[in-house]
């Protein structure tokens, strides 16, 4: 049987991590291809509902990444985001949702190598955890059916 390939959605900010991921490419650093990047203006814009949506639509893991503290393009977006993540992560854990499947990181525009490392580590960890069937099976319609028929 082929090895399980996790589907991971990365929500990243435009100014640091997205640019950093770009640098990973221009630096010709290879990394796992399981990650689909969604670019948002700022980590402050990464609504927790987006993460819920990713899982509902069949993601096995999620990466959330943005500018290091004090480096936010909008001065304080990541500080506000960090407070929300602290509460959100704790709430998910309290509800029994597998918070290990959400990986948070700070990756700056200069850290192309770090992004590759974050992606590779995330893929390795999520692969070890296996598919997130527990969550996918909550939907009344199988996630696989939706992927095949609704894209």
């Amino acid at each position: 049987m082929a090895e399980f390939e996790p589907k991971i959605i990365a929500f990243v900010c435009n100014w640091c991590t997205y640019t950093g991921a770009d640098l990973t490419g221009t630096s010709r650093i290879k990394h796992a291809t399981n990650v689909r990047i969604i670019r948002l203006p700022c980590t402050g814009r990464i609504d927790f509902m987006l993460l819920m949506k990713a899982f509902a639509r069949g993601a096995d893991g999620v990466i959330v990444s943005g500018c290091h503290p004090n480096d936010c393009h909008y001065t304080s977006g990541n500080f506000h985001a960090r407070r929300r993540w602290i509460l959100f992560r704790s709430l998910l854990n309290f509800m029994g949702v597998d918070a290990r499947r959400i990986i948070f990181s700070w990756v700056s525009a200069a850290e192309g190598a770090k992004w590759a490392e974050v992606v590779n580590t995330a893929v390795k960890e999520i692969r070890a955890l296996g598919p997130y069937d527990e969550y996918k099976n909550l939907a009344p319609i199988r996630a696989s059916w939706r992927t095949e028929h609704a894209g």
Binding site: R82, W85, G96, V97, W106
Partner: protein, 262 residues
């Protein structure tokens, strides 16, 4: 206690300071319900006893109530907290509401205006009772799989009636995310996914705003202990961010501590 409230309500109404007093009155059977007193001679209908736990602050946000004119509200501690938070969210001005405040020790508190209310609430920061904390800790002590099973069992009872939302003074958005369908954030039917999403969203949108009045849990027709979710967040805010701010999620410290960001 009850007499003092009636007296105060009479004064406020006959002096013309307020047009309506929101308080508790006799309901069906042995229950109390919210009543809206508009004439000084009706003030005698007001009740204050152990049954009067409903958080009345939500009525201040209803346009039907606002249309009655300036209101005074019979306010125990949770109601006072709700009003302070609603003021922070600029839902009304200092002069819009008068309060007949009642302390936790069941004494009438003199709060001449809403600034006094704010000071009073700040002086009494929100804390979980030892029993409430113990219940949160009990769930924390379970394994993740046990917690998942617990909440799956509890939320499977949910019929998506949104009584928790309707009863909550803080849930006043004209259009709740749950009704947004472009995109459809929350799965509509009350199946496992939709229920889980709803309860996560409700707790998160109340993070830092919830005053732990318990109205959601009392309103729930199927007895989901959804208040636990809010209490988890209240404890987290106290542990991680301290108690200085009026609204923890509108503030930050550059050195907020966490241990999970890589």
């Amino acid at each position: 206690m009850q007499d003092k409230i009636i007296q105060k309500a009479k004064e406020l109404l006959s002096g013309g300071a307020v047009q309506v007093v929101i308080g508790y009155g006799q309901g069906t059977g042995d229950r109390v319900r919210a009543i809206f007193i508009q004439k000084p001679e009706d003030a005698g209908r007001l009740i204050m006893d152990g049954r009067c736990v409903q958080n009345l602050a939500g009525y201040l946000m209803k346009h039907e109530v606002r249309a009655l004119g300036r209101a005074a509200i019979v306010a125990r501690m949770p109601v006072l907290r709700s009003i302070a938070q609603l003021m922070y969210e600029e839902q009304f001005k200092d002069s819009d509401v008068a309060v007949i405040g009642i302390s936790d020790a069941n004494e009438l508190v003199d709060l001449p205006d809403l600034n006094a209310l704010k000071e009073y609430v700040r002086a009494n920061p929100l804390k979980l009772t030892p029993e409430e904390q113990a219940e949160v800790d009990r769930l924390d002590a379970m394994t993740r799989e046990e917690r998942w099973a617990f909440w799956m069992e509890e939320t499977s009872k949910c019929i998506k009636c949104y009584a928790c939302r309707a009863s909550c003074p803080m849930c006043y958005c004209a259009r709740c995310t749950v009704e947004v369908n472009q995109p459809q954030w929350i799965s509509v039917p009350s199946h496992d996914l939709g229920n889980l999403e709803w309860h996560i969203m409700r707790a998160m949108h109340l993070a830092g705003r919830c005053v732990n009045c318990g109205e959601c849990t009392r309103a729930c027709p199927v007895g989901i202990p959804l208040r636990l979710l809010n209490q988890r967040i209240i404890a987290d805010i106290a542990d991680n961010f301290g108690e200085e701010e009026d609204y923890a999620l509108a503030a930050f410290k550059p050195d907020d501590k966490e241990d999970f960001i890589r």
